[in-house]
Symmetry: C2
Subunit: 408 residues, 2 copies
């Protein structure tokens, strides 16, 4: 067979033999060139998986073209924050508590970010169908993001913007106070927000100590945002008491604190109706991991399908919302990656998996580095998890919390 | 089934059901944590696929943990160079001729790069098994790369360093003259280099106009580098005359210029023996694409297996070298992605696939942007191509050029 023939054969094979390649016909080209393009604005680290490194590869694995703007360029995550002890640290965010304790690199100035967006715009490269933002280093940069979100939303009302309001975790603020009001100003442009419980408290000023507090916090967040996911609330006694029986952990459970609750809440803005709430418990995985919140938010955006149709096989049953569907997929895949990573970390030599001990870390920094290195998310090795096609009804859906609003 | 049980089931499934997951046992952990880690130092663009965007995702798809250091952070490829007319532009390099004509963003200073490497080193995060470098913005930055390569090589003699000496293409230099001598100084630390024909001419000072010229150029490059791949030499008459009959294009071919020759050449440094040369013709795909050389180099490094063993199913036949094996895989996958991208581009609306016309582009820049946008490599949509497990003997191997050195 001549070279030309053999290559043509291979080309035919390549172009016709897989699902992806159907995207080259007219119809799916539109989808691929439009609906499948996400602009991700995140921190970048050379080593490890937080921010963009935790978000972009998973989104590419499930088929999105991702435009990547880096808010910082660091060597590794910075660990400039205390290590929290609360379970919520499981869904800790970019530049979170589990970093390597020192870092090299640069932050993009507000001007540099603005110049990148301006040039992309002039070149006709700034019309993403979806927008994802995470950790933003400072108020000036966050204002640039606000202007960008406003512009993209006004141009395309169908823009799906997932804003992860990265403020802090487990009672500790990562960012300067002055970003908090700016995040609130961005709410009207956001389709979905994914605060952790501490960020809910910070953004609403309401401590989550009762169901009515949770009601009030959600009411405040829903004033401007249609879709809210609270990725992980520790299953404290007050929460344990109010969740539906079908959601409760097995009776065998000694300690309710070993579980986290993920809540999705959707409502139509401008209506007086309460939101539709779904939730699901996941067991706590002890240990400190970074970038888990970034991964969860990316997967929530990636699996969010605002107008499911039978044609794409993603028609939701009456009991699911587009948000609960997406959150269930993100929760399942994130939890699976964590289990996968945790199993890997457990096989490491003892010195690479010692538990935290700040004093001994201080005496011997390398000890901490080795531990952190073993805790990096195993995204590449676990990419089969990321690529799983998600279908509801596999026993991992979020459950409808039908009487959630009854008491208010 | 209780939530805890269902999650444990899923966890078991996740942890035992796939090939990747075997990597969590002791043995493969070593491999995953060592041999599979690549440090990639490339340019970054927010939109499109050149430099790191063309190299990292493909390497992640085939299972490598990739540490990513960005030498520039741009909005898009810069197109600060002329559009060449030679076929070699098919394997054009980062920041090549097909850019969007303007760009925003920043270059990393030599100091910033040095600071990132220093911090990674201090944190014990600087022991990659493989190193990949592409476009380096200037001489000062390139010197930092040289020091890094020297340090990593001295620490780990088994380091596999693929250096893509990005200088220019098709008779045009992208970089300032002063980087050329520094690239030559880096040769002794490189395992593989992947110059295009113009870079071979520039680095050796020898115009590739005859087989003896090609001999002399390879002899010069092999003085310090064991493995050389010349990714695409236009099949000019002199070359057409000297290649083995078995490599020649089908007799039906009207124009030999419609083909490019990929050559791999390996020799043991310090021996007087000639190198072992393999080659393969691929048909020219008309049109201008960016990042193709970056993709080819990344895949060559990713598929290079210096000590193939039966156990990993990658034992090469006597007629193949580790380099010819890797180059064949890279050539096949790169060519397939190009065909895939080209098919997509052909379905675009006419205004997005107009052929080049500098005058009309100047009058209407958006016209050029739209064309370029349609030419971005379809890496995400074609990831099934990237993930193909490569085996020799599929009719796409490079062929042994047994009498290559006879005339010298």
């Amino acid at each position: 067979m001549s070279i030309a023939e053999s290559i043509d054969d291979e080309a035919r094979m390549t172009i016709q033999s897989t699902p992806e390649t159907t995207q080259v016909n007219g119809t799916t080209f539109e989808r691929a060139d439009d609906n499948d393009r996400i602009l991700s604005i995140q921190s970048h680290v050379a080593y490890g998986y937080v921010g963009g490194k935790a978000a972009v590869f998973p989104l590419q694995c499930i088929g999105y073209d991702v435009d990547v703007v880096n808010t910082v360029n660091f060597s590794n995550h910075t660990g400039e924050f205390q290590i929290p002890l609360e379970p919520a640290s499981l869904l800790s965010k970019t530049l979170c508590n589990t970093g390597y304790g020192r870092f090299g690199g640069t932050r993009a100035s507000a001007e540099e970010l603005a110049s990148i967006f301006k040039t992309m715009d002039e070149a006709g490269l700034l019309s993403p169908h979806r927008l994802l933002t995470g950790y933003i280093p400072n108020a000036a940069a966050l204002k640039v993001i606000k202007e960008l979100a406003q512009k993209l939303k006004s141009r395309n009302p169908h823009l799906i913007y997932l804003m992860d309001p990265v403020l802090g975790d487990s009672g500790k603020l990562y960012v300067s106070q002055d970003v908090i009001p700016i995040y609130k100003e961005i709410f009207p442009f956001a389709t979905i927000i994914t605060p952790n419980w501490f960020e809910v408290e910070t953004l609403t000023g309401i401590p989550l100590l009762s169901l009515s507090a949770l009601h009030n916090a959600l009411i405040i967040l829903h004033e401007h945002v249609q879709h809210v996911v609270i990725s992980s609330i520790p299953l404290q006694p007050w929460l344990f008491k109010v969740i539906p029986e079908t959601m409760q952990p097995p009776a065998s459970t000694d300690n309710q604190q070993d579980y986290l609750l993920c809540i999705s809440s959707s409502r139509t803005i401008g209506t007086s109706s309460h939101s539709i709430v779904h939730a699901r418990l996941v067991p706590l995985i002890t240990g400190y991991f970074s970038g888990v919140g970034d991964l969860f938010s990316a997967l929530t955006l990636g699996h969010f399908n605002p107008s499911p149709t039978p044609s794409d096989g993603k028609l939701h049953s009456a009991t699911q919302t587009p948000l609960s569907f997406a959150a269930a997929a993100a929760l399942h895949k994130t939890h699976s990656i964590l289990k996968f990573t945790n199993t890997f970390a457990a096989r490491l030599p003892p010195e690479d998996r010692t538990t935290t001990d700040d004093e001994r870390d201080a005496a011997n920094p390398v000890r901490k580095f080795r531990r952190m290195r073993g805790r990096e998310l195993r995204l590449v090795q676990g990419q089969h998890i990321l690529r799983e096609e998600w279908r509801e009804g596999q026993g991992k859906d979020l459950q409808f919390w039908d009487r959630f609003w009854d008491s208010s």
